[in-house]
């Protein structure tokens, strides 16, 4: 019995130490961790793009999604150029999704992604690679509930001090 108790204490202590270190290092994120070379995303800057976006290379560890979202730079006041409803003053508006395209596991090249015409294209677009983990073929990602969403973005290991998902920002609109 005492051996069991000691084992339990050791287990909890180890878990605690690991957690403390991780907490100190700020390692908290909501995504799918993959080995560095098991996921890749290459996108060129594409000024002038408004209806489609080209992704040069994708390496997906499994069935995945390429997700294109707006890049919103700070809070807005009242109605902006976009036709989205005005956000409450001082709040960061939620970026909207322009495109979600399924990609198979493995390498894909030269993917042309049509952008949703109903969603305004911002100066910068973010292209990310998400896992298809929930119901296959259904994109299940809610920006407001990203921790619970199954189709999270990939994070490549080793993780940096500040975790970043596998995504790229692409300048699309002409200056």
């Amino acid at each position: 019995m005492y051996v069991g108790i000691m084992l339990g204490v050791a287990l909890v202590t180890a878990a605690g130490l690991v957690s403390l270190k991780a907490i100190r290092e700020g390692q908290s994120m909501s995504g799918i961790v993959v080995k560095y070379n098991e996921a890749a995303l290459d996108v060129e800057q594409q000024p002038g793009v408004s209806s489609t976006l080209k992704v040069d290379r994708i390496v997906a560890p499994g069935p995945s999604w390429v997700v294109v979202t707006q890049v919103v730079m700070g809070p807005t006041k009242g109605m902006g150029e976009s036709d989205k409803p005005a956000a409450p003053a001082g709040a960061m508006p939620t970026p909207r999704i322009l495109a979600v395209v399924a990609v198979p596991a493995g390498e894909s090249r030269d993917l042309i992604i049509p952008l949703d015409p109903g969603v305004p294209v911002t100066q910068m677009l973010r292209v990310a690679l998400h896992a298809d983990r929930g119901i296959a073929g259904t994109f299940e990602w809610d920006m407001t509930k990203f921790a619970e969403s199954p189709d999270k973005p990939y994070f490549r290991e080793p993780l940096q001090a500040v975790h970043s998902p596998l995504e790229l920002s692409v300048a699309v609109l002409a200056k």
Partner: protein, 896 residues
């Protein structure tokens, strides 16, 4: 159905019971089994007592039935045969053999036993003992017949049976008449040899207490291992519930897995996998006992604690499984820690409960601790020390000054004084001489004693007390039926309530709350948690413990105070007593008249007058004469002989003592002698008014020498006890066959009102008087010495028998007072009231948790694992509450 010839009664240790439903189930299942006459299961002591027909079922069969019901039953051995109605017994007949020269016995030729007439069975002796002798030298059945016949001829032997194949002989004998050495000598005298085969307990069975204790210890050890196992696996899950820890730890683990194994690892899923890995062993290793119990309950279409725990933990666990492995539910949270902690808390509760229950039996352990461990016996002419278990009835036991008397017996040599206070409460050591009885566990003070063991092992007075207390602890009080009734309907009601809670949360509540209410958890999840919490918090396991634990402690406390309560029912009824009837002689009074007053006429001295009276009474067995002789002995008076003694019926006695003609008797005798008593008339009237018997001593037919008054005096504490009872609101009555004047005089001394005196009542009418009081709606207790009070003791709602420690097998009366102190009647009632108060408190604790907890859980304000902790706490608090009864102190001791 034909009534079987005999029943057997056996006790079992039962394992696996968790609540009153379990004990009810076992009783029900066995009650339906063929061959079972009656069964009583006690949850607190985990014992079962079964009366059964051995021709239909045996102990192994009973254990199998209990096992099939999902519990364990271990026979405790020592089953007793319940005698059938008396039938004519046929005398045994010696085996027929061919005729041979009589009286010839040789080592090579077997002796021939002539055909013998049937040997009538000897009359049953008051004391019997059974021993087994190892027999050496037998070669054929004639040899065994010779030994049997030889042994049966020994005075004190009731029966002897020789087994040729096993070379043993079983002898039943009266140990007060013949000893083992004599039996062995008889066998040797017949040309064979014999040695005593010593066995512990009865046959080869271990003492019941050891068997049960071993079973319980093994069960407890197993539960401890399960608890540690569950705790070791649950604690990390608890840690992961801390904010920040869950994210950090799971990210670390996910990173590690991605780096080593490869592939993509979602920390959220990793957290679920960790929970699954930790919770699954807990659910199926530690929780397996509940699934097993649930299954058995389901087969019987009933429910118990296992049902509730299995449902509660399974709902949390299997939902979490779905939320982990079903893709469409992977966004849902998991509750692996809920099921794991729930099981951990429940098992902890059971462990604490078992530990606390063990302490409720401390009184028994204390009583058993009074017994000596070793004894010095004379065997083969030598004094040897043996474990007390190896002493057999008939052994010659030696006790030196300062040693404990090991077993019960009769003094054969030596004299000493023995401290019997631990059993009889008699603080002054009792003188023991040849022929006196000694009681095991008492302390020999000054001299050395040798005595013949008459009762050993389970038959000693101490063992009988322990058994009485154990039986009382194992008996069910009527109030327990209340708990059983509630438990029987509680489980289905709880499951129903949980289902309703779930459905309301799932379908009704969403219509009344804002969508933000479900930000943290979906409606299904909230509904599941609320339903699970209701199932868990409503478990009535504490209810089943409320009564038996209090009764265990109460009866144990009674035993410590010299009050043997023989059943839970007696304990429960005693607190309702509103009227108490005391028998006078031997109960309120000492029962032995003593000389109380001596009045001298002028010119006479007390010693001379007393000498005359004692001389005339020395050969009389009348209690009054015994009082005179006892006083004469105490005063050291040398009682002379009488010449010309004559007894005059209705008057007294007369004779010549020395040169004096003496008359000793009543007024009528003095009048017949012409002796003037007018000078003492007033004093005589006063003495008679006090209920005393007045005897007059006249000398030479002319003068009155003096007056001697004799009375049966009130016991030292009788008045005190009566006063306290009256103060407690109990109406006190006295019942006696004595005349009214004497009765009222004694009653006045005791503080009993004249209209509460039932005098001149014949023994056969005492029960009727008790019945008359009961007809007034009073709960009546009868206190008597059990000899001629038996019908009244049986008629009363509570019969309280006064008894010395040597004879506790009083079947009448629910309570036995060992110490012969009437203040113990007060203590018994106080103890009963304290125990019933405790039982009601326990019900409050047990039901209180449920009553408060169910609405809280139904409102979704209680997490299931906390409900589990609360439920475990309720059981522990009930047992702990019962343990507080150990602090009970009789009011008399507080005053002292």
């Amino acid at each position: 159905m034909e009534t079987p010839a005999t029943f057997k009664e056996a006790s079992f240790a039962v394992t696996g019971m968790t609540c009153a439903s379990c004990s009810a189930v076992i009783e029900k299942v066995l009650g339906k089994t063929a061959g079972i006459a009656s069964v009583t299961v006690n949850l607190a002591t985990e014992r079962m007592s079964v009366r059964f027909d051995p021709s239909v079922i045996d102990e192994a069969g009973i254990a199998a039935v209990v096992k099939k019901a999902g519990y364990g039953a271990l026979p405790l051995g020592g089953s007793t045969v319940v005698p059938a109605p008396a039938t004519a017994s046929t005398p045994s007949v010696a085996p027929e053999t061919s005729p041979a020269p009589a009286g010839e016995v040789s080592g090579t030729a077997c002796p021939v036993v002539p055909a013998d007439a049937a040997t009538p069975a000897p009359a049953a002796a008051a004391a019997t003992s059974t021993i087994t002798l190892g027999l050496i030298g037998m070669t054929c059945s004639s040899c065994s017949a010779v030994i049997e016949k030889t042994l049966k001829r020994v005075a004190g032997v009731q029966s002897a049976n020789v087994n040729l194949a096993m070379e043993t002989g079983t002898v039943i004998f009266d140990p007060t008449v013949v000893g083992i050495e004599a039996l062995i000598g008889a066998v040797k005298g017949a040309g064979y040899d014999a040695v005593l085969r010593v066995e512990t307990g009865t046959s080869s069975d271990e003492p019941a207490e050891d068997v049960q204790r071993a079973a319980q210890a093994a069960h407890t050890k197993h539960e401890q291992r399960l608890f540690v196992f569950a705790l070791v696996l649950s604690l990390p899950m608890g840690l992961m519930m801390l904010p920040g820890v869950m994210d950090a730890l799971t990210v670390r683990v996910a990173t590690f897995l991605a780096g080593t194994i490869g592939g993509g690892w979602d920390p959220m899923m990793v957290g679920k996998y960790i929970g699954f890995a930790l919770a699954t062993p807990v659910q199926f290793v530690c929780g397996w006992q509940f699934y097993r119990g649930f299954w058995h309950a389901l087969k019987r279409r009933s429910g118990n604690m296992d049902t509730l725990i299995a449902i509660g933990t399974s709902s949390a666990y299997f939902y979490s499984i779905a939320a982990t492995f079903v893709p469409s539910l992977q966004a849902e949270p998991v509750f692996f820690e809920t099921s794991a902690f729930l099981l951990t808390f429940v098992i902890l509760g059971k462990l604490l409960e078992a530990r606390a229950k063990g302490r409720t039996g401390d009184a028994i352990k204390k009583l058993m601790g009074l017994a000596a461990k070793t004894a010095r016996v004379v065997r083969g002419g030598e004094e040897i020390d043996v474990p007390v278990e190896q002493v057999v009835a008939g052994d010659l036991v030696v006790v030196r000054p300062g040693e404990k008397v090991p077993v019960d017996g009769v003094v054969t040599e030596g004299h000493s004084s023995v401290d019997e206070s631990m059993l009889t409460g008699e603080s002054i050591p009792v003188e023991k001489n040849l022929g006196d009885q000694v009681i095991g566990a008492t302390m020999n003070k000054l001299g050395s004693l040798r005595f013949r063991a008459t009762k050993v092992g389970r038959d000693t007075a101490l063992a009988q007390i322990v058994r009485l207390v154990e039986e009382a602890q194992g008996s069910k009080a009527p109030v327990q039926r209340f708990a059983d009734r509630i438990s029987a309907v509680f489980v289905p009601a709880v499951v129903g309530a949980a289902v309703i809670t779930f459905l309301v949360w799932l379908f009704v509540v969403p219509n009344f709350v804002d969508a933000s209410f479900y930000a943290a958890a979906a409606p299904f999840v909230k509904a599941l948690l609320a339903g699970t919490a209701v199932v868990v918090i409503a478990c009535p396991c504490a209810l089943g413990l409320a009564t038996p634990t209090a009764i265990m402690v109460g009866t144990g406390k009674g035993a410590e105070n010299g009050i043997l309560i023989k059943s839970g029912e007696a304990l429960e009824t005693a607190y309702k007593i509103k009227a108490i009837v005391f028998d006078k002689t031997g109960t309120l009074t000492y029962g032995k008249p003593v000389v109380t007053d001596i009045e001298l006429a002028e010119g006479h001295d007390a010693t001379r007058m007393f000498t005359f009276a004692a001389a005339l009474e020395r050969n009389s067995e009348h209690p009054l004469a015994e009082a005179i002789m006892a006083r004469a002995k105490a005063d050291g008076i040398d009682v002379p002989t009488v010449e010309g003694f004559s007894a005059i019926p209705g008057h007294g006695v007369e004779g010549t003592v020395g040169d004096m003609k003496v008359a000793f008797g009543n007024r009528k005798l003095m009048a017949a002698e012409g002796i003037d008593i007018s000078a003492f008339e007033e004093r005589i009237r006063v003495l008679e008014g006090e209920g005393k018997t007045v005897m007059l001593v006249g000398v030479n037919g002319a003068k009155l020498a003096g007056v001697i008054a004799v009375a049966d005096t009130l016991k030292e504490h009788s008045a005190e006890a009566v006063a306290r009872l009256t103060k407690m609101g109990v109406a006190v009555y006295m019942i006696t066959g004595d005349n009214r004047r004497t009765a009222e005089a004694i009653a006045a001394q005791a503080g009993i009102a004249p209209d509460h005196v039932l005098a001149e009542v014949l023994p056969e009418h005492k029960a009727e008087e008790v019945g008359k009081l009961q007809a007034k709606g009073l709960v009546v207790a009868m206190v008597g010495d059990g000899i001629n009070d038996t019908p009244a003791l049986a008629k009363a709602d509570v019969g309280i028998a006064m008894g010395a420690g040597t004879d506790v097998a009083m079947e009448t009366g629910g309570i036995v007072l060992i110490k012969n102190d009437l203040r113990d009647v007060v203590t018994a009632i106080e103890l009963s009231r304290a125990t019933m108060r405790k039982i009601h408190q326990n019900f409050f604790w047990a039901l209180g948790y449920n009553t408060l907890g169910i609405p809280v859980a139904a409102l979704g304000l209680l997490r299931p694992e906390l409900a589990g902790a609360a439920m475990a706490l309720s059981s522990v608090s009930v047992v702990t509450s019962s343990l507080l009864l150990r602090g009970f102190k009789p009011s008399f001791s507080k005053a002292a």
